[in-house]
Symmetry: C2
Subunit: 136 residues, 2 copies
């Protein structure tokens, strides 16, 4: 009865238009659904990145065929990390430069691999990891 993976990872945003542009255009994720004012869903590998407007999801209950989707929605900076190939590090550095996105920090991990940290338009702390730092 094992859990096999995490299939939905969530972030929160009060400006879904800005998030849509950032995650589609700059990060290159494939958008699946956009419900204006409520959510924005992206496919990413074998999982989904769901971006919700907490003003909506923490206050207004949603139902699917009379079945309740529970309330949720946080404020403040969340965090997620994406995986990329180690060989893509320089190309990504150039992409940050090209799009004028500030790299907040770059970390070389003691056992190998590099992380680039930056902010999304809602001030979430986003990381791209180059190399398999978690052995997953």
């Amino acid at each position: 009865m094992n859990i096999t993976k995490i299939v939905e990872t969530c972030l929160y945003s009060n400006d879904l238009e800005a998030s849509q542009e950032f995650y589609s255009d700059f990060l290159g994720l494939k958008m699946i659904t956009w419900e204006p004012g409520r959510h924005l869903f992206f496919r990413c590998g074998s999982g989904m990145l769901l971006i919700f407007n907490p003003e909506h999801t923490s206050r207004k209950e949603t139902e699917v065929d009379d079945q309740l989707i529970p309330l949720h929605g946080s404020r403040g900076s969340g965090h997620i990390a994406f995986q990329a190939e180690s060989s893509m590090l320089d190309e990504w550095r150039r992409r940050f430069d090209e799009y004028g996105i500030e790299i907040e920090s770059e970390v070389d991990w003691p056992d190998g691999g590099t992380s680039i940290y930056f902010r999304d338009p809602s001030n979430n702390s986003i990381e791209i990891i180059f190399g398999n730092i978690w052995n997953v």
Copy 2:
């Protein structure tokens, strides 16, 4: 230069002891690291579930070899969804009963698959999805 997957999914908790018990014992995830007062890391499939104490990570900067790990940390209910096999639904229903964990809602999706929603000790909205509702 594609992003291949989400490798770190985060939740926040002010009671890491309670989170540790819940995610290890009830959900059966494999704990990798526990830094008391700051974080708790679990392996889950080809990714990681990181649970942070936002009182720590939103206020105290962390460094690795003089390199900065940026601040983050949200308040309020976050959300994640785990994947399980469809055939395990009844066994999980019994497990909720056995552990005295309340099922907040159960949703049968129009195109097939079932979700069970419940709360973790920090009031995050957690979902287990039985069946491949996202086609991922």
